[in-house]
Amino acid sequence: MGLTDLLNLLVAAILLAGIYTTMSMGMTVIYGVMKMVNLAHAGFMMLGAYFALELSQRTPIDPLAASVLAVPLFFLLGVATYWTMVRFVPVADEPTLPSLLLLFGLWLVLQNVGYIVWGADDRSILTAMTMATLRFGGITIPIIRLIVFGIAVLSFVALQLFLNHTWFGRSVRALTQNREAGQLVGIDTRRTAMLTFGLGIAFTGLAGALLATLYSFTPDFGASFMLRSFVIIVLGGLESFSGVAIGAVIVALIETFSILVVPASYQLAISFILLVVALLVLPGGIEGLLQRRRLQR
């Protein structure tokens, strides 16, 4: 492979990292505040994909604009899910069996609702931009992937600003760091948890709608992306938002470049090897490693 091919691979990996970041962010937000692993993540991503499809088919709205519209709608859906189900799960400092079972059950319900409403047919969104590319010398950039990457970066920046410059954002960060201390300074934990769940689902819906412009999907959609999200957030350090972005870049780079030395059929195995390595060598993830470095200085 020549230099141009390697640069093409690098571009592909970076574009992939953008979407990996968006899809993992929702899971991290929820885990950080509520210490719940959102096993319904794939189900909400699937709903996001069908939301983009329905909106683009029934209205003149572009599917990419539909993905942005998914944010408020899925926020409300997340709040409603919290209010009707999640709030009854006991609060804990680590994931509990009831929360895992509830969210896993919810995923199955969403999947089956998907089958009832949309059937098992492969659906996809084809726009004028889907197959269009930009070329710089030998470097080829798919326009749709570039736009999806742009939306992913913007949403990540917006989340960072939101977390750092709003009262609610500071509450989220405080509860992520220390629940008891947060309560002592007067943070309404239940309200924050409800809004956080909404925020997490909003990101998940956005990711699903964006993925729908890249892949074909059925109500089963999202499972393999959810598994990658696990790897990314473990690698990132579970509760760190910047760690997730770094984790996404690492996973995307390794998955893309490993093809040079490992057969493509082991791509998923590579993600899981990464997960095991992260759990053994970096239990605190990238963020934990960075914190240790900072303390050593």
């Binding site: 093409n8 492969d122 996809s124 074909s216």
Partner: protein, 425 residues
Amino acid sequence: MPIQQSRGPYLQAMRRLFFAITLALAVLGPWWSGSAAAQSAACPDSIRVGLVFPLTGREGRPGTYQVEGIKLAMEQINAKGGVNVKACGKRLPFKEIVYDDQSDQARSVQLAERTMSSDNVVAVLGGYSTVLGQAQSVVADRYQVPWITPGAAASAIFTQGRQWVFGTLTPVDVLGYTTMKFLGSLADQGKLEKGLKIAIVVENTDHGKDYVEGVTRWIKEHAGYFTVVFNESFQLGATDFSGLLQRVKAASADIFLSDAHLQDYITMHRQYTQTGLYHRMVSYGARGPEEPARKALGPAADYIFAGTWWEKGLPYKQVSAFTQAYKQKYGRDPDNFYPATAYDSVRVLAAAIETAGSLDRTAVRDALRKVRLTDSLMPGQVLEFQKNGQAMAPFVIVQNKPGDKVDFVYPEDTKTGEAVTKIPR
């Protein structure tokens, strides 16, 4: 006393008679009732057939189409009075017992076992996709129930010496071999130059392995025609092919051959186009003309060629009749081979039951080995099983053309259009 004396022999005789009747009932009763039960088991009201297919999940769509084909065939046979079962002295209708394995291997095996052991079925039809078919195939011999798969073709299913396993799909290595025969014929006609380079990318299943085996076997047998410059497998259901396609690009091949399931075909070809790849000819094995793929890929799907077990444009009157009946029942054309091979699996089972003359599973199994359906929907119009239980009908090659058109391009006797050997850029 005299009265008593006179009644003594009478009572004794009555006792003996009663004893004899009781003994006869005790000895013959079970035989009689067993024989009656056996009679009713041998000649029930209907021919029960278990169907285990993925109606939901990843393979839900093709699985549903296969069940539709089966139901149509059963409905048509039942409308004519059913299948003539000589031992019962009457015609019996088919009755299907449908299970959805949700595209899950473990569930597929579990349901196949359940229907074979508990539903009193004469045969089981099931197993769309190689992976699910392979999973189900292991239980047929255990329960000694004829099992016919209309949707799994990997040779691994039929090379284990199993006695109760049948398949209406021609082996996948023949798909690879026919693809190469087609390309070779184009080279012979001067439409392709000899010595062109081929890149092969297949799913990491037995389906993929068999396809590569067929391609490479033809190339070995026909030196000087083509060379393979890239041969790699990928994870079934992968989410990203950028790295793999970049390597394909670097291989600078002239022809791109892949063997993929529908979702992978759509995802890969989208990324193929987005990566700016170009080959003179492109194939995804048996995939190509499916409606969801053409919707998802738009003009990028034009000129992709596919080796297929069946296409609705085959010039046989039974194919036209099937297509018309299917459209009438389901409101759409049959998509790809899925309902057609399933439809023929019921017809071949009906023929086997009539040949066997009974619903005895062993007799039906033996008849399946001999039966020859001469008005099959498959290319060549004949469906019969080889010694290993797998059918061996020829493949036809079709090519997508602009405007959602599909042309038969190989073999000559099915041709509806010329093969485009250089995809317009």
